[in-house]
């Protein structure tokens, strides 16, 4: 596969703040690539640099085999010279043009004949299921329809790359879910590579072929949704993608393919765990666990080695599952069990861990993760 978009060492500073710090990535043809991170992490700045709306200080950007930005040679094509389509968070549907004019504008600017524009716009409208709304003004459309118009406008020229800046964040939850499926379908149909920016991890996990996780301008990890969820490269990725709770533990013994740790109050427990080279070899550490990897059993059953004693503080019924906040020693951990198992608030439970990540106890700067 050939890369449609390549970023190499992209760096963007605003005064003292480095918004994008030496980011490199590449997107293949047909790929749905998401950049995810908390607000202010630099994901939007990266996207805007790709669009040409921001100029970076270092690095270079190649698009469809052409260099569109290169800090070294001071080459910086303006957005209108880049083969892109872009969808903005705020829709940015022009209020003084009707739907037809909105979608046809990129074609008109490129000097296409009237007939060709008409045919193309109609095809886009049909694809988006808005075939008869061309004459409407944007103020007559719902938020979801406006977002569809924005998408249609970006698709109209059949760009080499589609850029999406949190396009669903202004929609309500139900609509967001259906638009998610629709967007994925459009991408399948057109085969367009997409660079997608979002702070919503569900969105990113559900739609993407690959995900790049960013924080404070730094790209921490690039991988498939399964990879970033199950094999987080850094402590930040572990925290940001999904939910984790931390339990204190102690690394007792270190072997090639396994470690033995002690946690909770139930004495030693050995665990077969995959080993990351950077994990502490012995001494105090933390055991990070995901809610779905914790097992709860009523305490009537004996506490065995490898289990800890806990107490249910809060429970919440989610329909398809129960969520518990369980106090174990000094820690409060979050647990998710299927809806069949209902435990009373205040009841004593035995806590077991199926899988976890051993990380450094001091979360100061070290970011080391061990995965099972």
């Amino acid at each position: 596969m050939t890369a449609i978009l390549t970023l190499d060492g992209l760096t963007k500073r605003y005064g003292q703040v480095t918004a994008v710090d030496n980011v490199s990535l590449s997107i293949d043809a047909n790929e749905f690539f998401s950049l995810i991170g908390p607000s202010g992490c630099g994901k939007t700045t990266t996207l805007r640099s790709v669009a040409g709306l921001e100029s970076a200080q270092q690095g270079c950007i190649q698009m469809a085999g052409r260099t569109v930005f290169d800090a070294a040679t001071r080459r910086d094509l303006p957005p209108n010279k880049r083969p892109i389509g872009m969808v903005f968070q705020s829709y940015a549907v022009w209020p003084h043009m009707n739907i037809y004019e909105n979608i046809g504008y990129p074609l008109k600017v490129r000097g296409l004949p009237r007939d060709a524009i008409k045919a193309r716009v109609q095809r886009v409208l049909d694809m988006l299921g808005m075939g008869n709304l061309g004459a409407r003004m944007p103020s007559q459309l719902s938020g979801g329809q406006q977002q569809r118009v924005a998408l249609g406008r970006a698709l109209a020229i059949e760009p080499s790359l589609l850029l999406l800046d949190e396009p669903l964040s202004n929609l309500d939850a139900k609509l967001r879910e259906s638009m998610r499926a629709e967007l994925k379908q459009v991408q399948r149909d057109t085969g367009l590579p997409i660079l997608y920016v979002t702070h919503d991890q569900d969105e990113a996990l559900a739609m993407s072929d690959r995900i790049g996780v960013m924080s404070a301008g730094v790209l921490h990890q690039i991988g498939t949704p399964t990879e970033v969820y199950t094999r987080p490269a850094t402590r930040f990725v572990l925290d940001f993608i999904g939910t984790v709770s931390y339990l204190p533990c102690e690394v007792l013994k270190w072997e090639d393919e396994s470690v033995k740790i002690r946690w909770g109050e139930a004495g030693e427990a050995s665990a077969m765990l995959g080993v990351n080279q950077d994990t502490p070899k012995h001494g105090p550490a933390s055991l990070a666990v995901r809610p779905e990897h914790v097992l709860l059993t009523p305490v009537a059953d004996a506490i065995q080695p490898g289990l800890a004693r806990g107490r249910v503080k809060i429970r919440a019924y989610l329909g398809d599952a129960w969520e518990y906040h369980v106090r174990v020693g000094e820690c409060l951990i979050r647990v998710r069990t299927d809806s069949a198992q209902a435990l009373e608030e205040g009841s004593e439970v035995a806590v077991g861990v199926r899988q976890g990540y051993v990380v450094n106890a001091d979360d100061a700067g070290q970011e080391r993760v061990l995965f099972s």
Binding site: A51, V109, A154
Partner: protein
């Protein structure tokens, strides 16, 4: 799908430094800076610099001259106390009217609101003439009083009291609009909280509502005050005959002598008065802290039921409106149609001869034509220039454009007399370029300086409401910067530009304070002619000319009202998006 459309690009780039300078933003900023420097900074510099010069030497002699002659410093003192009292009266009328309309169950609220702000559309000079015809020595009210009581009335319109009264009934809409707006937007839960604590409605007004709208009252008062010290027409018509001078009329007198240095020094004093008052008001506003409670929508405000008093309150309101708003206009119209003022209202006393006289007078005709040229010309130039400044400032975020915007807004705080004096200083014997004094150009320059802020205000606020992404979407759609401005920015900016244009047109069309100082034979305006005719005793003709211009002003005024309503409705529609 069919063929991909990729933009053709041929890259041949000029050298970096040249490209930097050729950047359209820098070129635009440079040209606009030049424009503002010539039209605004240079005249301002002339006023302050010349006021400190005597025979080419630095000196404070001009200022000491102001204070050595009692007639001069009296004018400063008169300006202050007259404006303070007029503002006080305007606050009383405006606040009372706002409370009655917003916080009682008085009927006809929509009509009342329109009528109450109508004085905005009537030029102060017109009201001054109208009030002379009503309350002057042979005025209607004066006659009625005589018939009723058989004695001369206890008032004299040619007096400080007359000036204060007419200033107040001209300027109270500033207070009414700000206070009524604040009352309408006030969070009603603040009043409800008091009501549920068992406090009566009148007590709530006094303890909760009034303190909360205090900033709005102060804001309206400031506008009324600045408008009072700026006014020329009212003290000129009502004060000069009684030898009662304020700074604006004193400057006018000094220029007819002409004593340029004295006029200049008094202009600077007038600026100082304006600045001192501005600062004082800001202090007053700031000392209590700003309340952030006036926002959001009000549902059920605390309304006082008038009960049996309701028809009486309504009648009193209408009577007041008729007396202070409609009667002056009515008197003006009557004056223009009567053979002479004071004649019986019988059919053979009605005549069109004042109109015929005005239209046969070549000077007056020229004045009409000049105003019809100057007002649209000033409005067009200002709106175009301010749209460019606002674009550089708000959208292109060009460094320096914000400063330029600020400098161009300064004359807004300057009394018109100061702008008039600065025009004479700058353009009667300019350091560069042609002499504009004696031509229409100096009036155009004066109007541009005076109304630049109107254009900047309307274009700036409109551009701030246009989200950046609308332009970026066009840009990423393949449109160049220029094309984006043409296809996206300009169409969206047009309503703001239109509103600014009409506002400037109305203001410039009947401008007097600046014009009366810088007009010359051949370069007169409508306002100047009305004033001159009134001043030389041809009140009938002055009234006729005023009545001829009123429909233009009123129609445009109603047009702006309609525009703002339309804009508000459109914004509401946009805010309340229909959902699927």
């Amino acid at each position: 799908m069919s063929q991909r459309i990729t933009p053709q690009h041929k890259v041949s780039e000029p050298p970096a430094l040249l490209r930097w300078w050729l950047d359209y933003r820098r070129v635009m900023l440079l040209l606009l800076t030049l424009f503002i420097a010539i039209t605004i900074v240079y005249p301002l510099y002339q006023v302050f610099w010349r006021s400190l010069m005597v025979d080419g030497e630095w000196s404070l002699a001009n200022y000491s001259a102001v204070f050595l002659r009692p007639s001069n410093y009296m004018a400063l003192w008169n300006t202050l106390w007259v404006s303070v009292l007029a503002t006080g009266l305007a606050v009383l009328i405006g606040t009372l009217a706002a409370f009655v309309v917003q916080r009682t169950d008085v009927p006809h609220k929509a009509l009342l609101s329109v009528l109450l702000v109508l004085p905005f559309a009537i030029p102060p000079l017109f009201s001054a003439i109208g009030w002379v015809q009503l309350a002057g020595p042979v005025g209607l009210f004066t006659q009625w009083w005589r018939e009723l009581f058989g004695a001369p009335p206890p008032w004299n319109i040619y007096s400080p009291g007359g000036i204060i009264f007419v200033l107040a009934v001209t300027n109270y809409p500033f207070v009414f609009i700000t206070v009524a707006g604040a009352l309408a937007r006030m969070d009603s839960s603040l009043e409800e909280a008091a009501r549920t604590s068992g406090v009566g409605p009148l007590r709530i007004m006094k303890d909760i509502t009034l303190p909360l709208v205090r900033p709005a009252i102060l804001g309206g008062a400031l506008l009324a005050f600045v408008s009072s010290i700026d006014n020329f027409g009212i003290p000129a018509v009502l004060g000069m005959r009684a030898q009662f001078y304020v700074l604006t009329t004193r400057i006018y007198e000094a220029l007819t002598i002409p004593n340029m240095p004295l006029a200049t020094a008094m202009s600077v004093l007038l600026v100082l008065v304006a600045i001192v008052c501005l600062v004082a008001f800001r202090r007053l506003e700031g000392s209590r802290g700003q309340y952030a409670v006036i926002s959001g929508k009000s549902v059920t405000p605390n309304v006082i039921r008038l009960g049996k008093a309701r028809p009486w309150v309504l009648a009193a309101l209408y009577l007041t409106l008729v007396v202070i708003v409609l009667m002056p206009v009515f008197a003006l119209v009557l004056t223009s149609l009567l053979r002479f003022w004071g004649a019986d209202l019988s059919a053979d006393n009605f005549t069109l001869r004042h109109y015929i006289a005005v239209l046969n007078q070549s000077g007056a005709r020229r004045g009409i034509i000049n105003s019809l040229i100057l007002a649209p010309a000033a409005a067009t130039i200002i709106v175009i220039v301010s749209a460019m400044i606002a674009y550089l400032n708000v959208k292109a975020r060009q460094r320096g454009a914000g400063l330029l915007d600020g400098i161009a807004t300064v004359p807004f705080a300057l009394p018109g007399s100061v702008i008039g004096v600065s025009m004479i200083l700058a353009w009667s014997n300019p350091a560069f370029g042609p002499t504009l004094y004696g031509t229409l150009w100096i009036l155009l320059a004066g109007y541009i300086m005076r109304y630049m802020a109107f254009g900047l205000q309307s274009t700036r606020s409109t551009l701030q409401q246009i989200h950046d992404s609308l332009e970026e979407a066009a840009w990423t759609s393949g449109a160049s910067r220029l094309r984006t401005i043409r296809d996206i920015t300009l169409p969206l900016l047009r309503p703001g530009m239109l509103a600014g244009w009409v506002l400037i047109f109305i203001s410039a069309f009947n401008e007097l304070t600046v014009s009366v100082l810088i007009w010359t034979t051949g370069a007169e305006t409508i306002g100047v002619w009305i004033f001159l005719m009134q001043d030389s005793g041809f009140t009938g003709r002055a009234a006729a000319l005023a009545v001829l211009t009123l429909p233009v002003i009123l129609l445009l005024y109603l047009f702006t009202q309609w525009l703002t309503k339309l804009e508000a409705r459109r914004r509401e529609r946009r805010a309340g998006k229909p959902d699927a």
